[in-house]
Amino acid sequence: MARKAYRDRLATLRTDIVLFGELVVERYESAVAAAANGDLREADRIVRGDDEINRRYLELEGDCIDLIARNQPVAGDLRLITASFKILTDLERIGDLATNLAERTEYRSGVHPAVDIESLGLAAGEMVDAAVDAYEDDDPAACRSVAVDDDSLDSDCEATTERIIRELLAEQTAGDSKGLARTVDTTTRGLLTVRDIERVGDHAVNIAARTLYMLDTDNELLY
């Protein structure tokens, strides 16, 4: 095979991206579990581990830049590297969102009871996992499937948001000012949590969209 060293580096980049994706999914799912169970020790591990994710992100970003600068990739090779470059950003952002979830675990009053963190959170995590698998396995159908799953997640998140707002309005109508202050606090964290989980789903779709374009030059999911 011609340009063996270059081919090896492309294969290594792809493997490294998949490993990074698996690391991020592990951290995110642990953050969901920590938030659901109020596990402060695990939450602390997630927060402290964000530095490792950021460092690895920058290393892999550097690998992409180096491949472009030194090898002048074209066609499928260029799509692989540019897709990987974009996917890296999505994975790093999922790492940040996992940190957000973990940080909210510290509040003993917990997230709003209307938010089923485990159910919503793990659904988003499975989407990320599926998107990374699609990237690893060259699977366009799996990419499209992630987008379908996101519609369902968005719907669940929207319904949860609506429940939270309704309960807040009900509390306000009841006129309990002390209870209202507490409710505003948990409501805010509840809304932020739902938004973060929804954003994780969006990043999963971004990964799937970049993968689909990388594989088939199909920009269907990019818009």
Partner: protein
């Protein structure tokens, strides 16, 4: 193989016949051991200065690329490293060139012994009008090495050519394709087991596929040899080298650093202009 074995008088690896004190000053860009180093090297052809105060420390077992516009002195620099400029009457050299700390221009150094350690491959493939086997055997003979079938095979394997020619070793080297001829020349260069291989635009006369094979070969050669390559192809330098030295008009070495730095974040604006095509 049916070829005869022959022996040559000297197997000595020594460059010199008298003691020369090594000079070990260096500012390497790599943590690897410096194998060849120049200090304040000036080269003149008559009244024309081709190199101007070039100091560089080249690491071993890595690929160092020399790039720059035509006439900037990069080929002159390459030829200084195995004293090929000795063959040019009007060439004059100031400064020092050391191989593992030994001044190669010391009177005690034997240029033939030096070239045994520093082989060279040129721009245009130049096999001799002899058989494939004899082309490699010549590389051994001229450097005073014993010719054996094993050594010829080893050199051809080292040049990634063996599998393509093993059944036609009696065929003329001139009947091979351009890319194969260049790899035959590389086999001839590595047959005496040198430490350094100098390459002066080794792929510029080849088509992209043949050039790609040579680039892959260079990647393998650095496991055993130090490769110093002159190339006009900046993309090639970016692809295959560990370090890049940029020469500009007037024979000045403007920047020498690891290749990633040169192509992603060069320190000198003139290098930035050159590699982005703004120069001139």
């Amino acid at each position: 193989m049916s070829q005869n074995e022959s022996t040559i008088d000297s197997e000595s690896e020594s460059l010199i016949t008298t003691d020369v004190q090594p000079d070990t000053s260096a500012e390497p860009v790599s943590s690897a051991t410096t194998i060849v180093e120049t200090e304040q090297l000036d080269v003149y052809y008559g009244d024309d200065q081709a190199l101007d105060d070039v100091s560089i420390a080249i690491p071993e077992n890595q690929v160092t690329a020399l790039i720059g516009p035509s006439g900037c002195g990069k080929s002159t620099f390459l030829r200084c490293l195995n004293r090929m400029n000795d063959l040019i009457d009007i060439a004059r050299i100031d400064g020092t060139v050391t191989l593992r700390g030994t001044d190669i221009y010391d009177d005690a150094v034997d240029p033939v012994a030096l070239r045994r350690k520093i082989g060279m491959v040129f721009q245009k493939p130049n096999p001799f009008p002899k058989s494939i086997y004899d082309n490699v055997a010549y590389g051994l003979k001229v450097q005073g090495k014993k010719v054996t079938d094993e050594r010829v095979e080893e050199a051809l394997r080292g040049a990634a050519l063996w599998d393509e020619v093993k059944d036609q070793l009696d065929q003329s080297g001139l009947e091979l394709s351009g890319g194969q001829q260049q790899r035959l020349c590389i086999a001839r260069a590595i047959a005496p087991d040198p430490e350094i291989i100098l390459m002066d635009e080794p792929t510029s006369a080849l088509d992209p596929v043949a050039a790609s094979k040579i680039e892959d070969l260079i990647d393998e050669l650095v496991e055993d040899y130090t490769v110093i390559i002159v190339t006009h192809n900046m993309q090639q330098a970016a692809r295959i080298s560990d370090q890049t030295a940029v020469f500009l008009t007037g024979g000045e070495l403007v920047e020498f650093d690891d290749t990633t730095t040169i192509f992603e974040n060069p320190a000198d604006d003139r290098v930035e202009d050159y590699i982005t095509g703004k120069f001139g």
